[in-house]
Symmetry: C2
Subunit: 307 residues, 2 copies
């Protein structure tokens, strides 16, 4: 089934211990949709500037992603420049230029409004809510957020939390949002704020999904998916969005949302995140094949499988 | 089969966000042996002072642990006082008094020398090597160490690493020992230093075992065991030693060291660590039953099990 994503399509300049890039294609919606495209039909809603050319569009088209919701405006695309040290979980922002993204006000094209699956990538929660309200047929809505909205726009974020089925954030964001250093307690506090499921991404340690009692009729016990121990994280940018793409893409590809589907979605999320970090930007996802995904899925299963 | 542990039997005074204790029974060998005692016959070699009375000895005896290797000397037992903040992975040491432990020179009683399983808890690597050499019948030797020995006694530690089958350390120690921020790369570097298997404990994220190529004839693929997301870590002291106790105790209880045994040992390690933190000191392990252990083992399996 069709999966709609709303978020940033941007350019990044990245420095890591393994090298550096000039301005390359990036943005949450970009990583998300490339990742999800291996599982289902993806539709993107975003805004870009004049620096986004046919060359960048081709990256989406090659993966059969519907770019009909990418609005082209005068000016420059969102640009982020950052540097990672040895701790791949922490980026140091060197430069941020909002460009046309600064006045992003997503309008969902009519032809996208029948999407049953929706992902609200990390943008202003006011916009996330506005998008949600334009999608009356959505069966399952996932959402992301970040520190900036948690600390400075809490009331708007709370409204957004009531309108998503699953929130996907990382350890630090979960602790900050709940104001609680215990992840398990933080999870329960966040579930009380609205979402039926909370996926907490632990970086190189995998991810855990916590459920509200009775959520989706699949019980309340948490489930944890691993990641592969990776020798060289070339570029962690977009790992979380790639996780979300694998997770949402797999769910959108299935008829029913059972507990087993949720479990497999967590594993596919981990698999896609693990590929994303193997090269700079979207390079690895562009070259990826479904066979490689299935192969790694098996490896992940073996990694934790007890008879 | 009998499992010998050599290490500290001590007293701790602990403060955590959940409360504080006076001087209570602690020490690596204490947590280890209580934990392992649920799986196999345990023998302890340690030194204690006059403050270690019949009351403390009863804690071991109640779990049928052979205390014939605990030497009583004039003076005081090793004492550690520490405080944990909200980050349960970091203890702030308030006081350390070596007492009789300062001149610990473990002699293995004759009747213990037939032990097939040995655990060298965290003590001076010179002593660990000396113990290893007194155990010619050992089939499987596990060892632990800490920052202090990694930074200040590296040559001695390297000798110890050649004499253990499995090293059990945490993330920070692995990175420090290998001088590499990537856990996967650090693992390979450490395996080159000697051990056949390296168990890296990730605190609340579980633990991963890495194998040297062909180790124990069970292949080289890593295996990861989870931990339960715990709402309240009352006291993290001894969690790592309890993990090691469950891991080594389960291995010692099995006829052969297969890959499946190793996997289950990793899960039992996680299970025992998760119990240890539910109360101060050894309180939870003292009250634990085998039924509770098996119940939680099932929960852990469910937590990551993919059909």
């Amino acid at each position: 089934m069709s999966l709609l994503v709303v978020g940033s399509v941007a350019f990044d300049a990245i420095k890591t211990p393994y090298g550096k890039t000039d301005k390359i294609l990036g943005g949450a919606a970009t990583h998300f949709s490339l990742s999800a495209s291996f599982f289902t039909q993806v539709r993107v809603v975003a805004v870009v500037g004049e620096d986004f050319t046919e060359k960048e569009e081709a990256v989406f088209r090659q993966r059969h992603i519907d770019t009909g919701g990418i609005v082209h405006e005068k000016g420059k695309s969102f640009f982020w420049s950052g540097e990672y040290g040895e701790n791949v979980n922490e980026a140091k922002t060197l430069d941020t230029q909002l460009g046309v993204f600064g006045s992003f006000n997503p309008q969902i094209p009519e032809k996208f409004k029948d999407s049953h699956y929706v992902f609200l990538a990390n943008v202003d929660p006011v916009l996330q809510v506005r998008v949600r309200q334009q999608m009356p047929h959505a069966k399952f809505v996932g959402g992301d957020t970040m520190n900036y909205w948690i600390t400075g726009h809490r009331e708007n974020l709370k409204e957004m939390l009531k309108q998503v089925d699953a929130l996907l954030i990382n350890d630090g964001e979960a602790r900050m949002l709940a104001g609680d250093p215990s992840l398990a307690r933080a999870a329960h506090k966040i579930l009380e704020m609205g979402p039926q499921a909370l996926v907490i991404k632990h970086g190189e340690y995998g991810a855990t999904v916590f459920f509200k009692d009775g959520a989706f009729g699949i019980g309340r016990h948490p489930f944890r998916a691993p990641t592969l121990p990776i020798e060289a994280v070339i570029d962690p940018t977009g790992a979380g969005d790639s996780f979300a793409g694998g997770f949402m893409g797999y769910i959108a590809s299935q008829e029913k949302l059972t507990r087993d589907v949720f479990k497999r979605a967590m594993f596919y999320g981990g698999v896609m995140g693990s590929f994303a970090v193997e090269a700079f930007g979207t390079e690895r996802l562009q070259k990826l094949t479904r066979e490689e995904i299935d192969e790694r899925y098996k490896t992940f299963r073996e990694l934790t499988h007890l008879e």
